[in-house]
Symmetry: D2
Subunit: 402 residues, 4 copies
């Protein structure tokens, strides 16, 4: 590997830049996962995760990537051959749908253009048709990481309610949790899926399910085979802070630290406002460059990442390679059907104004070097946006979270 | 938590004491798992794991605990309702059997007394009976962590061969890999299951499957639903060092360091000899105490841990609690049907002579304090054993591994 | 370097085993030493050091080894050609005396046999003779690290007082501070010298002066040239938590953590009792081996280290080399005129019962391997001692320090 | 302390941002500084420092701040009352001069305006006058950290030579070493002073003297009292890689890593080119803002930092406080007679293009928020400069250093 001076800019939409405090917490001697000290740790992180999901119900923590928590949500609640309604918001929705099919379910995809979130009206219409209640679950990706589009969870909940349909509501918040306001209980979600490596500012290796009472009740009848992902033994052991099999202890150390940062040091609301500010500044830059934002509906802009369309005839793969080599910055690639057409700027996790400017400068200088048609001035536009925010009061993140 | 001076003695049979070098490796900034630097890492650890498993076939690395790799072995190779023959060597064999049942398989348990390894003759006899080849797999725990008994894998292979039975041979090496000599290819194993937190000296959170060609061929017809655990996409992506979903990057950093320690710095053969020496010294101590070793067959003694029977009427739970509080040492508990009857001394992983003496001193002083009937002199016996080994030549671990 | 499995036993009498918590604290991004966050750190560690020295007067922290703090004590209080009375307790007293001479002072050495502490009667007699008060300072090493002998500071203070002599009283506590009870104010010491790498459990690189009012008054007239070591600018800047030149910021992070461990988590009195217990157990072992302890006066036994005489004709250098190679343990060498005749066992800093047993086992097995005449049973004797302490109540270190 | 998300921008001209690799290296267990492993470390870092100083002569490493190495240079070479010629380049030159006076020397200050480097002609003229060779040394700060002005060392050497004066030539490279090309041997310097916390990318706590034969010869006659700083014992012990008193072991671990980065991974010439590029981009920004660079002579621009004048009537203290609070960036203050009139941008050490843009954005947005008269466009100007450099070939730091 060539040497790079200074700190790498990891501006993919996850894994995100892990704060030094979290890395240091992970770098602690592993303890006995059956001993008294572990129980304290277990209870702390389980309680903290409830606060992050905004739920009073149980949260399950898996030693697994987010993909595992997707599988857990499905196998704990469904039986072979059951129908699930999923919304085609992008690549991750597609992968989740493919997983459902592989697990023996019958996923039905509400089509989408990869530039909008899940459509409440379309969901409502489909559910209304389903008078026999064959559809057992509605599955939506809250923040579609491949497109930078956020689905409107409360409106989707209302759509299901309007259709008077009993389907479970399952939401993937892998790339929104801890970055974009999300409320499991208030939005009436039955299973929320989360992961460690995005807004939670951890390395990958932990994932989560937050559960409603309805989800727990449904789980008793779900016939898909399961063992590792089974909620039942997990919840029994979690009561005292332990796990039925060996947990990823060192990542849990990191989670404890990250929860302290989010909940106590900065405060979730400040965290969300910071992400909103950075996303707005990024969009101002994109517009100044004369490039097109993948997300078409301003109400669905993602505060975690911005996906940007490459001008026709220009390769995002070549562009990102150049940015990586010349400026030591990793950007997110186009995925699935928008591969080589869209690049993604991650502005989530442990991040601040000046790092955002550095990030956008890497994009702007990279566009020029790569010969991609664009206007200069994106960085300047973002700076105006950030300056205005700073001028309008103390930035949210320097206020005490108390 | 009360304060403890000095370093905790983590002498459970895993998770083991993670070397500082490995912790420091894990404490590195997370990188883009789709970038070029990651590919190098991926290829390195995949190759290193082949060397540890002693296989030229593929190894799969999961971001999951060992329990997940158990599940992966089953769901990739078997179809609902299929019969698997498992050997009741102790609690972990029982848990694996329970998992098979929960996944919809028909496990059949060759009974055992929890003091011996899997019996090749019994396995052979059962397979010989199965002229219709209803049994699709034979599953054995190499080192039964609950009892300190090691099953004789080559003899079990020979037994299957003598029965001319086509069943797959699947072996759990979670608590032996990197501590006790094990040879996937030479022993004709089809799926070997491993975990990170024992002899590999890592925190928990990674687990492994090593695969034979026969396992790969069988996987094509296996009908159990699977997605996260599916070998197919994993192997396709692994070819270039990548993974189909987000891997546990920081634990892979640790794995790279641990592989360097095992394969380059100490050398696997030296590692095994060190474990053998520590196990022998531990048994000398147990005998000097007048206590009984759980394993009855010297050919099946575990070099990774020693399970010791408490004298009747004495609680291992109370004993371990006292040792933890007074001497800041964690010992392994009795599990399953030997709960409160057996305690376990882990002497695996990153460990040396003087730490072993400290460990045994904690046991000996704890027995006295707890009023457990025993003879003194266990530590002295172990020291004689270690001294003799040191006198007979340079200890293996100070020789260059070259 | 050959590979060693497990954790190295660093049983020299300093640098000591640095706790992981302290290493992790040091491994933090360096901050602006002129910024507001630094001021908080500075004030915290300065206050904490007052508690450790048991003084209400100022403490100076140097970015330097302990040798630097020796020099600071002399150059801040003395003028060229002035006479200082020093006590020959061993190699470190000799080095301090040599330093005084090199700096242009006239040190006078009260002779000693390297097996006793400084003699109050001899000091008193010499001071009584000095009716002209030519002697400007009495300098004593509290814990002579080369011999394991502790001088009786309160009795020395009383001796100076009985002689009605105005000399400053300067004490080196480099290897006792944080391990052996020491009271700057109560013992009427004018300058106490300390270092980071022993009982304070830090890497080397920080050293200390604790000052009395008399020392500060004397400093105004002291004519030895000085700049780096000058108290004046240091104390002025310290008032707000800052330093006149760049401080060793990362080691100060470690100091903050170590002070928390000593003062809050374990409590200084518990720390001292723990060191007393380990020293007593070590001496029991030495006696059981039939070897001779260098310190002749039980009232002057060091709780930080034990120096042990080699039987005539046996080389401690060869013995320690063997112990290092075979058992990966570093022991302290003989220094100065007892080189190759005495080895030293450090039992100070972050240390516990089981690590002590491991340490003594390394010595006992090493003596046998090296063919050094001795009796077995040292480890057993130490275990009896530790067991008795454990039986007599909860070990001090598991009680809350509250 | 308020919480700040993301990474702090430590853009003072030292301490600089310590790379994670270096912090991780420091966070290793301390070893016996008399053992064989230490000797290897000692020899490695001493050899590496020779390469950095570009000298074949000895380098001395002190466990001390840079201020200590200033003192060492003086006390090892000079006698009380001797005259030294120093050049008033700014605050650090003034502090060194004050130190010389405090140590009993007679420093003579060649006056300067704090906007130019040391003037070769003035030095030559003064030396030419000194026919009796009363001046024993010429002391110059290579990179004056308070002003961002670099003195022309080869021209100063030539000036001394032209005057045929035997004075020693002593140069402070504390803030240039490892950032700006410097050649101890080639420039005929007798004592070079260095520190760890700038271009060497370490925390503070180590400092250096590089020595010529002439310096060593002079040292034999130098009568200033010294002990801690004495070269003699240091050089004797260094021959085998050891130190006469306890070295700052953990910082030496960091030094080994940093030397590897500078000498092997990036290569010194690439390091210098990178610093040149960032300094040029910074100056372009300052000019675009319409502000004045403190350094008046382009031949003396510093590549390590840029000092910028505040418009009259505006306080740099208030400006920096705002930048710290709003943008979590530390800038350097005005020092000495330019306090509150000049602020300093550090662009040295472990640093890259995008972090520089973030840094300059913090300045530009801070100027606006603070109401400091300026023109926008500084960031844009810097980006043009960086883009041009990137376009003109692979950036220096991505080339292999081989």
């Amino acid at each position: 590997m060539p040497h790079h001076a200074g700190r790498h800019f990891l501006q993919i939409p996850g894994p995100t830049n892990v704060p030094e405090r979290v890395l240091r917490a992970i770098d602690r001697a592993t303890i006995d996962h059956r001993g008294p000290e572990f129980g304290v740790l277990g209870r702390e992180v389980l309680a903290g995760m409830q606060a992050v999901f905004k739920t009073s119900g149980p949260v399950v923590i898996y030693p697994a990537s987010g993909t595992g928590a997707w599988e857990a949500a499905l196998v704990n609640t469904l039986s072979p051959g059951e129908r699930v309604l999923m919304a085609e918001t992008g690549q991750f929705a597609t992968l989740w749908k493919n997983m459902a099919a592989r697990l023996g379910l019958q996923p039905e995809f509400v089509p989408g253009d990869w530039r909008h979130g899940a459509d409440p009206a379309a969901i409502e219409a489909r559910l209304a048709e389903d008078s026999g209640h064959a559809i057992r679950a509605v599955c939506v990706v809250h923040n579609e990481t491949s497109t930078g589009v956020t689905s409107r969870i409360p409106e989707l909940r209302a759509a299901i309610d309007r259709a008077r349909h009993p389907a479970l509501f399952m939401v993937d918040t892998i790339s929104s949790l801890g970055s974009i306001d999300y409320r499991h209980d208030e939005s009436g979600v039955d299973v929320t899926v989360g992961g460690s490596q995005k807004g939670l500012m951890l390395p990958p290796g932990l994932s989560f399910n937050a559960l409603s009472d309805k989800a727990l009740a449904t789980a008793k009848k779900a016939a898909l085979p399961k063992s590792y992902w089974s909620w039942e033994e997990m919840l029994a052991a979690n009561k005292t802070g332990y796990f039925p099999y060996t947990p990823a202890t060192n990542l849990l150390y990191g989670l404890r630290e990250s929860l302290k940062m989010l909940l106590e040091d900065e405060g979730l609301d400040n965290v969300f406002r910071r992400h909103d500010r950075h996303a707005e500044a990024t969009r101002q830059a994109v517009r100044a460059w004369g490039l097109e934002i993948q997300c078409l509906n301003p109400a669905e802009y993602s505060s975690a990442l911005t996906a940007v369309q490459m001008p026709p005839g220009h390769s995002e793969i070549a562009f990102r390679k150049l940015v990586l080599e010349r400026f030591d910055m990793s950007l997110g690639s186009g995925l699935g059907k928008i591969a080589d057409k869209v690049f993604r700027i991650g502005h989530l996790g442990d991040f601040n104004d000046l790092t955002l400017v550095g990030t956008l400068a890497g994009v702007e200088m990279g566009l020029a070097l790569a010969g991609v048609p664009h206007k200069q001035g994106g960085v300047a536009a973002a700076m105006r946006c950030l300056s205005a925010a700073a001028a309008s009061g103390a930035p949210s993140e320097v206020r005490s979270a108390a």
